[in-house]
Symmetry: C2
Subunit: 473 residues, 2 copies
């Protein structure tokens, strides 16, 4: 069984933990041990939760224990959020309990001072001597959507992350459940991991784990430094044959490389080296935080495009032209439609017989209901064309009440066609845009805040597909 | 008086119109003459509205007239939204009424067919013979926030555009009131203009008008083609001495240049020519639709930076490093803080004594209230530094209820400091992000969907300031 397999792998004890001890303060506050327990409860963690603190007998309805050793049942994972100087001692207490995995949320280690770095080294020594693996310190930990495991100590404001194919990893908490609109935007997620200071578990361990994780189909990693570049690239190369690996690595400028050095305590090396190493390993390098969040969506829900020929369907001629620039700069080409397709489009209106197709041109001729029908006929025509590998769409969302009809259209299109889509939604009301986005993403149709990211996502997917087929992956 | 001045200028009759005839169908529909009248009423147009259609005696409570010549009061502007073949005849009817400005919303002209192109030429001939200026055809027309003049024929879903300094112009309706979340996002706008087919009024006319418009302080234009490049550049050069001109000109790729040619009927010319011509004229060229919408905000509400030295304040170390890349790639440098500033920051916490400042590092040490106070002290320290010209911030919005405290912080900071700010807001709830964004933008603090655009906006402002001072503009 998949879960068993993963529990036996390197990081399985973390992600597939069935019992979690939370060690820290349980004062009702915006962050802390209280937050961890609350999030585990809110996200419906399906295992056992043990709050650990000698001053409490009960936390949020759960029995609290003075130490982990007072718990009679076995504990898989310790989440530690205490003052830093206490952490080594907590780890020592974990050892006799047989705990093999610890997430150290606490900060005050190598990221702060020499004293902190010394404490971190001490911590690692103790953990190693007991065979305990550590994620962190200075981390918000991990998420496993399959089990409801969410260790972030901050209030998230929502209780449900859509389970899906994307694994996000980051060197800081900025990719965590407390920072991303994971409920509003329906990102389909398998795992999240914040490495923190990477005193033990690092990007190589995680890549190996995610490669074997049956829930994960696409891996997006934000990395400030790479501990062992050679081994990382070798590991990545074997992973990308099965799952795309997308990396956002800041530090392109001299100033940011310097800041990385002071932030992580390790030298990043000249940036161009990464560019070529990533390319050789088949890793896709992303440029912005928004790409990091949004490009994986197209891999998570769409088939890989068989080629790079894109249909562009918009409700504005200008959007079509902007999309051409974005598409060609992302490695796509504007598909040459077949004469059959051109005829189909022309039968709707002679003004629609081209790629990009600007359906807005017939807006004045029909009513709203007919407009959606026209849009659907146009989409069906271009997606049926064997010279079209994928489609970029720009949709105008005017009111939340119209979202359902548009979602129905995509529901029907998806029954007939399985080509990759990426949708930019714009319009006069954020609420209408958000509602349409929500309904489409639930259906598995990825939506984007801008046309450029939509085109780039498809371009990256098409490029990955090409590299994959060239290597017979 | 400013309004008088503009009424006398070239396009004043359009933008400062005090009486508008809407000529078209008044069937209750999602678009059409009905939509124009409804929008004029919804946006509180302060002039007179005359629906014109022989089949109606009343539209939305307003008296309707068979033709413009049945109206006894003077009419400044005709908004025409009839079948295309009727338009020349309508223009002829406008002449005896003394109407000198017509917005032709109708499509079916040069953008559709040879027949349409012929009709357009005929139309221009008739209009010229009567001295009538035309915006369009195939346009959604204009907006003047000062008078509530909104001629878009589509339902917008909201009734208020914030009056402010940005003029947006576009060659299609995609920059119109029906396409942008102008209420949700509080873009401060003076005028909007959709040129449509540009059969008469073009980008040069508009630049001249906006240059003299006291409400407009920054001009953003989306252009697919330029009718008379030489004159346009000369006009732009004189305008940028007073007001920044930002242009989004798609057509970078061969494929899009070809599409532009078929979309607009005019050749765009090799793209690199525009790059250097824009540069020579002092025009800022934008790359994406999102930049087109969001970069002007920093000019509209912030002082021009005296230099390019940026403070970066975040609640995440990773965001700080991403911001450095974005800042340096946008022409900014990471400000070297003075020893006084470093001391001030160190007195808050030794971990805050750097630029970027990661205030998130002290999150674990304080409660939420103290956290905002710390953030404010950090901002006050860096903004007081004479070596800091502007600041990029990344803010974490967790709940809508906390927005007010953050807005209060900016209210106090703005009383003390007048340096340019650009804010990226992220977080787990779109509603919280939107609420904070709304509250800050009402205060005149520009917010961005991503860090890169925030940095780019400040970088472009700093570059414009430098060019301006070099030329003694």
């Amino acid at each position: 069984m998949a879960t068993e397999l993963n529990r036996n792998s390197n990081l399985g004890t973390f992600f597939e933990a069935r019992s979690v001890a939370v060690i820290g303060s349980f004062k009702e506050a915006w962050m802390g041990g209280y937050g961890v327990v609350k999030n585990l409860l809110n996200f419906g963690f399906c295992g056992n939760i043990y709050p650990i603190n000698p001053s409490y007998s009960e936390v949020l309805g759960m029995t609290a224990y003075p130490t982990v050793n007072h718990v009679t049942d076995p504990i898989d994972l310790a989440v530690i959020i205490t003052p830093s100087h206490v952490v080594p001692q907590i780890i020592e207490q974990c050892a006799p309990k047989g705990i093999k995995a610890a997430i150290i949320v606490s900060d005050g280690f190598a990221e702060t001072s020499r004293e902190g770095a010394r404490l971190q080294r001490q911590l690692v020594g103790i953990a190693r001597s007991f065979g305990i693996r550590i994620i962190g310190p200075n981390t918000i930990g991990i998420v496993n959507t399959a089990t409801g495991l969410v260790t972030t100590p901050y209030y998230t404001g929502y209780n449900r992350i859509q389970r899906g194919a994307i694994a996000y990893a980051s060197q800081t908490g900025i990719a965590g459940a407390q920072a991303l609109p994971l409920e509003d935007c329906a990102y389909p997620i398998s795992k999240i991991c914040d490495f923190g200071n990477k005193c033990d578990v690092n990007e190589i361990d995680l890549l190996e784990y995610l490669a074997a994780d049956p829930e994960t189909e696409i891996i997006a990693i934000h990395l400030e430094d790479i501990k062992d570049s050679q081994q990382f690239m070798a590991t990545a190369r074997s992973v990308v044959a099965h799952k795309p690996v997308l990396i956002l690595k800041p530090g392109r400028s001299e100033a940011s490389a310097k800041a990385v050095a002071s932030h992580t305590g390790s030298l990043a090396g000249p940036d161009q080296i990464y560019d070529s190493a990533f390319k050789q390993a088949g890793i896709v390098r992303l440029d912005t935080w928004q790409e990091f969040l949004d490009v994986p969506k197209v891999f998570a829900s769409q088939p890989l495009p068989a080629g790079n020929r894109a249909a562009i369907v918009t409700v504005s001629g200008a959007a079509g032209i902007i999309a051409i620039d974005a598409a060609t700069e992302s490695g796509l080409t504007v598909a040459a439609l077949s004469s059959v397709t051109i005829d189909k489009l022309a039968s709707l209106s002679p003004r629609l017989a081209s790629n990009p197709v600007d359906v807005g041109q017939v807006a004045t001729l029909v009513n709203v209901g007919d407009f959606t029908a026209t849009l659907e006929s146009v989409m069906a025509a271009v997606l049926a064309d064997s010279g079209v590998d994928c489609a970029i769409m720009a949709l105008w969302a005017t009111s939340a009440s119209e979202a359902e009809a548009t979602a129905d259209m995509f529901r029907r299109l998806r029954q007939q066609f399985s080509k990759a889509l990426a949708i930019w939604i714009y319009g006069p009301k954020l609420s209408a845009r958000d509602e349409l986005s929500r309904q489409l993403e639930v259906l598995g149709v990825p939506t984007y805040l801008n046309l450029e990211t939509a085109a780039k996502a498809l371009g990256i997917a098409a490029t990955y597909a090409k590299v994959k087929s060239r290597h017979n992956w």
